[in-house]
Subunit: 339 residues, 2 copies
Amino acid sequence: MSDNRKATMADVARLAGVSPMTVSRALRSNTSVSEATREKIRVAADRLGYVVDVTAAAFSSGRSGFVAMTIPSISNANFADTARGLTEGLRESGLELLLGYTDYDMTEEERLVEAFLRRRPEAIVVTGGAHTDRCRGLLSGAGVPVVETWDLPRRPVDRVVGFSNADAGGCVARHLFDQGFRRIGFIGGDGTRDTRGADRQRGFVQTLETLGLPSNRQITDAAPPITMREGAMAMARLLDRWPDTQAVMCVSDLSAFGAMNAILRRGLRVPQDIAVAGFGMYDLSEHALPGITTVDAQAHQIGRETAKVILTALDDPGADAVPVSLPVRLVVRESTVSR
Amino acid sequence: MSDNRKATMADVARLAGVSPMTVSRALRSNTSVSEATREKIRVAADRLGYVVDVTAAAFSSGRSGFVAMTIPSISNANFADTARGLTEGLRESGLELLLGYTDYDMTEEERLVEAFLRRRPEAIVVTGGAHTDRCRGLLSGAGVPVVETWDLPRRPVDRVVGFSNADAGGCVARHLFDQGFRRIGFIGGDGTRDTRGADRQRGFVQTLETLGLPSNRQITDAAPPITMREGAMAMARLLDRWPDTQAVMCVSDLSAFGAMNAILRRGLRVPQDIAVAGFGMYDLSEHALPGITTVDAQAHQIGRETAKVILTALDDPGADAVPVSLPVRLVVRESTVSR
DNA sequence: CCTAGCAATGGTATCGGTAACATTTCCACT
DNA sequence: AGTGGAAATGTTACCGATACCATTGCTAGG
């Protein structure tokens, strides 16, 4: 079955009695090869247990066959959804997705992008619009389409598929105001690391101020990712410091869940004593008790749109880079509805 | 800065006044090149914005520089942890991780493995020990180390790093028994797709029977992944059918959370009316209210051990493949403690 | 002063495919 | 039967690095 040496195209060609070029064409299936020859080749390849060496193919053709993507965290369901959408959107064009995780660290992002470039990806997808200077340079000099996602950078590198994080924060602030809450807080993380979270916070705070409400109740010093534990701890501190707080927005659903349970563990009720809202449309916020008000950023759709943008850009490299801005949608649940 | 054509090693060599071979050595940093020359080359490379083409390097050296891994789902925090552990363990040896998702589908796994083989990975990691016959053939004929994880297959392909899912189920059954529960159910998924879940179920049921308890209260017909929604729906059905149930194990923490909230929404109490246990040591189960009893399968550690096994196997291909079996640990929380 | 021996560097072949172009085969139609 | 043109197949060069071996330069020790 298996020789000591891996079979090559030449071996298959010899066995099938054709030239290597014909084997190459037959196995890529889209070019003109007669059905009889194709079958002969398929049989020969099977007999030898031959599988194309994509490394060699990539090298020869100059096309690596994959798209590189950096996301902040592997275990964040939002980014996972975007990655899934992108994978689906790329599948039929034969492009694969190579994922890397930055841990919310721009230096790590730079390292990753450099590692990706060594593999000559056909496009690069990054999360957010904040990068080290050197990383920006690497991206813009890469010579392939670059897509920044999950954000609407003021000065994009190239393509953009995202949404306004500030709007997302703002619409939650307005919702809490509309529900009659006036003493409103925010729980998030270190904004220099998670700039998208910082944008949500900014939009949230600005809206509070526009509405004439105080905006000083903020706990945002932990390092991202801000998950359940950070949410719970921040909520405890917020309650200690401003016990009369009526409502809180958290930078993510995970932290909102943590915060909510911190409230409940104190014997307080949600939303009667304190209302809680999150961000990200996690399953968790739907199934939690009470259900948590959140913002749907359409993570999966971002991935699908990104795939479209990439395919378009590869098809026509000269085309203008028009930013794709997706709308966000407020999803109201029991955790913020006072009645 | 950037020419119309990407710079190559030859360009760098010309600019630095040395041979391409010396550039190759200098940039790989481990071989004998004088410090002066190395610096000259570094400067030249920087000036040209040159980054090594790993595709060409891989092709030339015959080593692709990465390990391929299939996991059932991208959004499962357990598998994400294992992937993270593996990435960390491989980092210093310069190996990268290429991830693929099977969606709990053995045919999809086969497709993925085939796609991976085209890229000539230096090792392959798969989840579980159940594969299509063709996939088994592909794996064993790959000529590189193969590691099956998250399971202890009776007839492994090659290397194994896992734990006994049956034991995990068994120890939960025994715990529930010890807590005084007697009418005990199980919520899971279609065992032909998630064989590890099925193993946990088997161990659970066997232990119940050993203890002389009835074991018919099972809701396991949904298709994996069994998440919060499936857990909630299954729990509703279980309560309708066997209203006097005292305790339930769910195949994962996510489904346990869904099940628990389905119970709470009915106005019942956990654990006073019904106890709930999960599996997987998710953050969620710690922060939920009440905290959910679970089993720590040491997902991250599985990744670290897998890295070790791979590096050992690559170092000495002749070495015996001794299965690595990690212990599981029951984590008791409020959801199963009756007092 | 000579030479063994090692460090530093260079030359050449080669990895396994694919692009581009050349050639042959085959068929339909005049 | 002859011919044009498309379909099928072959030939050659080359992608960009590294392996392998050859060569040069330098130093230490007799």
